[in-house]
């Protein structure tokens, strides 16, 4: 819809994006599939993890930063796998060094392996440390509206409530919470985790979210590249539907065709 494009940009930390779909880089068959899926998704912000280099073995394996060049994408290092504030902070500092001083990070401090829900108190601690240390924090949190607001007040540049457990594909488990978080927010709200298919992404956007971050829903589809395209369209569909203002729900029917002028009576 050319008439809305100009004003409908996602602003994160002052930087504008036309795409509202953020993607991860895990679980793909290979770097080539990763690359093609990201392209099909139209994502402009791409998240990745930090792990030890291989010391002296398979040195020719392809490099993620070649597949996702920093000049083309906004790279978003995440702290996936961290179960305490300290390791999350160390991970962010290594990531900043790795990306030559780039301050934008996705913070997740996990509370339990079964749900991969955040450890909220530890996430609060890490958030404070990182913000003092000059990071721009996009924070993974649960869908509690009170906590979402708290992270905004601490100065996070985006708040990322989960829709359902990471990698579960269950969709938006509690739309009431997400809607309330959106209503209260003055920073971008990005649904992070739990989306399973394109309609889930559309639902998130129709609740008024500013964007969605996903990984498994694309990477574990039978055809990841086609699903990436589906997600791109699902996000756009949901966003446009939200901007367009949906019809009211009615308990009963309402005819689409006029009654008068029927030749039978």
């Amino acid at each position: 819809m050319t008439e809305k494009q100009p004003q409908d940009l996602l602003l994160i930390n002052g930087k504008p994006y036309t795409s509202r779909l953020l993607v991860g880089t895990g679980k793909y068959r290979d770097m080539e599939e990763t690359k093609r899926a990201i392209e099909a998704s139209g994502a402009q912000i791409v998240t990745f993890a930090i792990r030890r280099s291989n010391i002296g073995q398979n040195r020719d394996e392809p490099n993620l930063l070649d597949a996702v060049p920093p000049d083309k994408y906004t790279l978003l290092p995440n702290t996936a796998g961290c179960f305490d504030a300290e390791t999350a902070v160390r991970t962010c500092r290594l990531a900043r060094e790795l990306l030559d001083g780039h301050n934008l990070v996705k913070l997740e401090v996990l509370g339990d392996k079964k749900t991969l829900y955040p450890d909220i108190p530890a996430t609060l601690d890490a958030t404070k440390t990182l913000i003092e240390d000059g990071f721009d924090v996009m924070v993974y949190t649960n869908d509690d509206p009170v906590m979402a607001k708290r992270f905004e007040e601490l100065g996070c540049v985006a708040v990322m409530p989960l829709a359902a457990p990471i990698g579960s594909g269950l969709g938006i488990r509690n739309p009431y919470n997400i809607r309330t978080i959106v209503e209260n927010a003055h920073v971008p709200i990005l649904v992070d985790a739990g989306v399973g298919t394109a309609s889930d992404a559309a639902v998130a956007m129709e609740l008024g979210c500013d964007g969605v971050l996903m990984n498994t829903a694309i990477a574990e589809a039978k055809n990841p590249v086609l699903m990436a395209s589906a997600m791109k369209k699902g996000i756009e569909a949901g966003r446009e539907a939200w901007l367009a203002g949906r019809m009211p729900r009615r308990a009963y029917a309402s005819a689409s065709s006029p009654i008068d002028g029927t030749f039978f009576t």
């Binding site: 010391i55 040195r59 490099n63 993620l64 930063l65 990531a95 060094e97 790795l98 030559d100």
Partner: protein, 65 residues
């Protein structure tokens, strides 16, 4: 001297710099280095020499969500 590189104990000649290490292990990826939980910036790889017992972490970007 003995240092721990990504958790593995390794024997190195004293005076080895971070840069030597990168070359010795032929690490071609872009990496970041932490020694004893302190970042060593890329600009200091030449200058920073390892001490006996150092815990060195050399990390890179990999696929994740």
């Amino acid at each position: 001297m003995q240092v721990f590189i990504n958790g593995k104990q390794t024997e190195l000649p004293s005076g080895t710099s971070v840069q030597n290490l990168i070359e010795q292990f032929d690490i071609r990826d872009k990496v970041a280095v932490e020694i004893n939980e302190e970042i060593v910036s890329r600009s200091r790889f030449e200058l920073h020499t390892l001490e006996d017992g150092d815990r060195v972490e050399i990390v890179r970007a990999i696929g994740g969500g």
